[in-house]
Amino acid sequence: MSDSRSSGPEVGIALIGHVGMGPAVRGIALAAADDFSTRYDLDRERGIFSRPSHKLYGESYVGRILVLNAAKGGVASAWMLREMVTMEKAPLALLLNDANPVMAQGAAFANLPFIDRFQTDITAAIRTGNTLYVDPAKGVVTIERRGR
């Protein structure tokens, strides 16, 4: 399950990644040290993680800033992210340690804010419930507030 410990990262800390894509957004993180595929892991109609072995199993990702390790699986995410945005069943933004082309192509098609290749392990630096400001044009994520 997601990490909800009360202690957390330093507020105001800026996490530096590669320059990303999509608009800047502010929102609440949903984070786990696990990987991500729209096909493999999600019930896209209900907007929850449906893969029993996933660390975010049962959690709703809708409107959250998803913070996960690596993109996995195949081509599906490139179409699906846009469909999820259209159906209002999408995360607010996506932050990964390690993207693959499919996820980048999907984010570009969906105009979903997306950053990867951070200087630190993003899944360790951010906890579920943190308030984040995501600035893809600069490749920077700022932790503005701890806790849920």
């Binding site: 320059v19 999600l42 449906s50 195949g74 599906a76 259209t86 993207a99 693959n100 082309p101």
Partner: protein, 416 residues
């Protein structure tokens, strides 16, 4: 990215609106991955399964198709693995959804764009054939890893909209596996046994993929025994992609760029090769469990079966009956299904109670809805990729050999 005059004109709209959309989109993706420029391509493969595309994807394609021809001129040959739907089978599998009708809309729109329809799952051996070193814009992960690893063509995952963009621009951003340095092996594995069946090949791909877990990793793999069949390599490769998002491997002695270990490791330090042992593969397959439990559905797909596999299934089923509480689904391209009918294999399978299904694969046709419609839980399959995906759809999968899948379908329970 550095653009040629031609590409800049495309971006400025001089070559039509579809190309303008395409190159702007590709530029955003290319910039994300630090591509310096574009590389021309002539071949494109588009993944268009209806579930994946969604209504928004369909509308997007229809909007492109509605443009005047001058605005949507193709600049590459594109084949869509738009495999259609088996109306009879899907009426049984999903009585509440008109899959055939939904798929027809997309087929019509893609046809207007000039995209050729293919019924094959991996159209690496039926529709198009890039040459060694040729850049191409393939979409399906099994096709991409096949092209990089066994043909020596150069390709990144150019998923759905990305391959569509390549169709209109005739180029793709040059990053990843278009670059010599990215194509070199990063890790080494030695398999200490010769796999016997598809599930074992799939398990090898799953174990390596799960360990490396990065698109940018390139495993070099040595496998003892005679030269593997392409189908066996495909089962391994598509699980490298499924579990690790891996787009290229070197199978020593088979990959054109990997005739031997010296070539594989040239100029790059790779620590000692890890061993994939038979017991690792056995444990991987056994960990899915289910032995002794009732099996609700046996789905043989991903990739769709070839004619030799259909023949094997028919021989295994001859004179037997699938258990009344078990559904046996065997997926094949339309052409193979027709061949199986002509040879009598289809009748043997149907007489035994199996269903030979053409069209899109099991996992790509609302498999979650199918499970819910039938109340299914335990799934058996010879494809480790199907097990991996369908676990996320609420199934309890058991991957096993084709032989064991058929025997279990007859017994109505998962046999050891």
């Amino acid at each position: 990215m550095n653009l040629t005059h031609h590409e800049q004109a495309m971006l400025d709209g001089a070559h039509g609106r579809a190309a303008q959309w395409g190159i702007e989109y590709q530029q955003r993706v290319g910039t994300f991955f630090d591509a310096e420029d574009f590389v021309p391509i002539r071949l494109v493969h588009i993944s268009t399964d209806r579930e994946t595309m969604g209504d928004s994807g369909l509308r997007f394609i229809e909007e492109l198709a509605a443009m005047p021809p001058a605005d949507r001129r193709p600049r590459a040959f594109a084949a869509a693995d738009f495999r259609g739907f088996d109306a009879d089978a899907f009426r049984f599998l999903l009585p509440g959804r008109d899959l055939a009708g939904e798929s027809e809309e997309a087929a019509v729109a893609l046809g207007k764009l000039g995209v050729a329809a293919s019924h094959a799952y991996i159209n690496d051996h039926s529709v198009t054939a890039p040459t060694f070193g040729e850049a191409c814009g393939y979409s399906g992960t099994p096709s991409v890893i096949y092209m990089n690893s066994f043909v020596g063509a150069r390709c990144n995952f150019e998923a759905g909209p990305s391959s569509l963009a390549a169709f209109f621009t005739g180029r793709v951003p040059r990053y990843g596996f278009h670059l010599d340095d990215r194509r070199r092996a990063t890790h080494a594995f030695r398999v200490d046994f010769t796999p016997k069946h598809a599930a074992e090949w799939g398990a090898i791909g799953a174990l390596i993929g799960r360990k490396l877990n990065s698109y940018w990793s390139v495993p070099a793999i040595e496998i003892p025994g005679a030269r593997p069949a392409v189908l066996s390599l495909n089962h391994m490769a598509l699980n490298l992609a499924s579990y690790g998002s891996i787009a290229m491997c070197h199978v020593v002695g088979i990959t054109p760029e990997a005739p031997d270990w010296q070539t594989v490791t040239a100029g790059r330090r790779i620590d000692t090769a890890e061993t994939i042992a038979r017991k690792d593969v056995r444990e991987f397959l056994e960990n899915w469990g289910g032995v002794g439990e009732p099996v609700d559905v046996v789905a043989l797909s991903t990739p769709q079966l070839c004619i030799t596999e259909i023949a094997e299934v028919a021989e295994l089923l001859a004179g037997r009956k699938v258990h009344a509480d078990t559904t046996l689904l065997i997926y094949a391209p339309l052409e193979i299904k027709r061949a199986a009918a002509a040879m009598g294999y289809a009748k043997t399978i149907e007489d035994a109670g199996g269903r030979l299904v053409h069209g899109h694969d099991f996992f790509a046709t609302y498999a979650r809805e199918i499970r819910e419609a039938h109340g299914w839980q335990r799934l058996m399959t010879h494809s480790v990729k199907v097990a991996n995906i369908c676990e996320g759809y609420g199934y309890k999968p058991t991957p096993a050999s084709l032989h064991r899948c058929i025997d279990s379908a007859v017994a109505g329970k998962v046999l050891p």
